[in-house]
């Protein structure tokens, strides 16, 4: 049992070793090991300001709805394990809950939260 998570950790090491190895290989094979510093590509123009900025994420209202559902997933996984054993009540309770959330989605949809343009 303890070796289960050891395997996961080993895989992480393998992945890191591969990534590190390919970077080292690239140092040896590339035409010049030192990276070149460029300006960002802007169709052939120079930038007037740095791109990192407060971005207008038009999907922001959607993230709120997503969060509601995402928290629900916390219950969904443990529920999935016991649902069949706990009987019809467990299934009904979960799907009433999901139904309430879904009603919220439909309401948000009608309010236009799913349209950005």
């Amino acid at each position: 049992m303890s070796s289960t998570y050891l395997s996961v950790f080993m895989m992480l090491l393998v992945a890191a070793a591969f990534v590190g190895g390919i970077y080292l290989l690239n140092r040896a094979t590339s035409v010049e090991a030192k990276p070149i510093e460029n300006l960002p590509f802007l169709s052939g123009w120079t930038p007037e300001e740095h791109a990192l900025s407060r971005y207008h994420a038009r999907f922001y209202p959607l993230t709120m709805i997503f969060l509601a559902f995402d928290v629900e997933m916390l219950f969904m996984y443990p529920w999935a394990v016991v649902a069949a054993d706990s009987g019809i009540e467990a299934v009904m309770e979960m799907f009433i809950f999901l139904g309430v959330l879904m009603a919220g989605v439909v309401w948000a949809w009608r309010e236009g939260a799913l349209r950005w343009v």
Binding site: S7, F18, P40, F69, V91
Partner: protein, 313 residues
Amino acid sequence: MVESLVEVAPGWVVVAAVLLGLMALVGACVDGALAAHSDRRSMLAGVGKPIWETARLLRQRRRVLVASDPLLWRVGGAGLLVVALLMVVVVPFGRWTVADLSVGVAWFNAMDVMVWALVWLTGWGANSAHGLVGGHRFLAQALSYELPLMFALTAPAVAAGSLRVSDVVVAQQGLWFAVWMPVAFLVFCASVLAFSVWGPFSPAAGGDIAGGVLTELSSVDRFLVLAGRYALLAAGAAFAVPMFLGGGSGPFGPEWVWTFLKTAVLLAAFIYIRRLLPAVRPDRLVEAAWVIGLPVVLLQVLFVSLVSLGGGL
């Protein structure tokens, strides 16, 4: 056929990693062959594409950008491959599995959520307008596919009464889950394409924004992102096999052959879809995913739980 699965020693993760790498390579070769075919050249001429691309990128010089965030940028790029490798630790190969986590299904889910951050960082870290737009496009897309994906993953878990991948495989003795929960299977496949930024779900790397999250990447940095995409596709296909396609069960022969075959066929289908469909912009996808996709998957889960209550099919 698959009675029980054996957990092998941690050293075998190297084999698992090599297998995933091979699968990703096969996927890239298939893509090259299909590309050559659509350009009316012989398919054989395109098979070498991943080799040549790798050689080209290894010889290329790396770039950094003015005032970029190299650390987060590289973490984003290299992370895709790492995540794909971490996904396959829970995937059984025939009757062997390297890490049969008691929460294997949730583990896969946790890994695929990491892709949100990684793709976004790949776009954001470069300090480039096109990358920034691409990264945010991916987040918008992720908001649409993630919930259907999560519920699609719960369906097999409910039917098996367990989050352990080996239990899910054993629960498919009689009938593959793909047969009696087709909606969950299809949604899962679509989500694999989506978190791999692939085919119709690739606006984050779209040509209309000069490659989006890929715009500023060169050399090994680009190689890792492209390889990571193929690896994610391959990992998704590999995970679909124990979840929906009965794992290693087959009419004859050793089980690992069947795992391999099923994965390869599904991966080839994923690769093929790339050219088939137009891109679906995230702002178009969102309504379909939330108002149609989500309820349909929920109904699928309801159906599965009612069937499981009645003792299964």
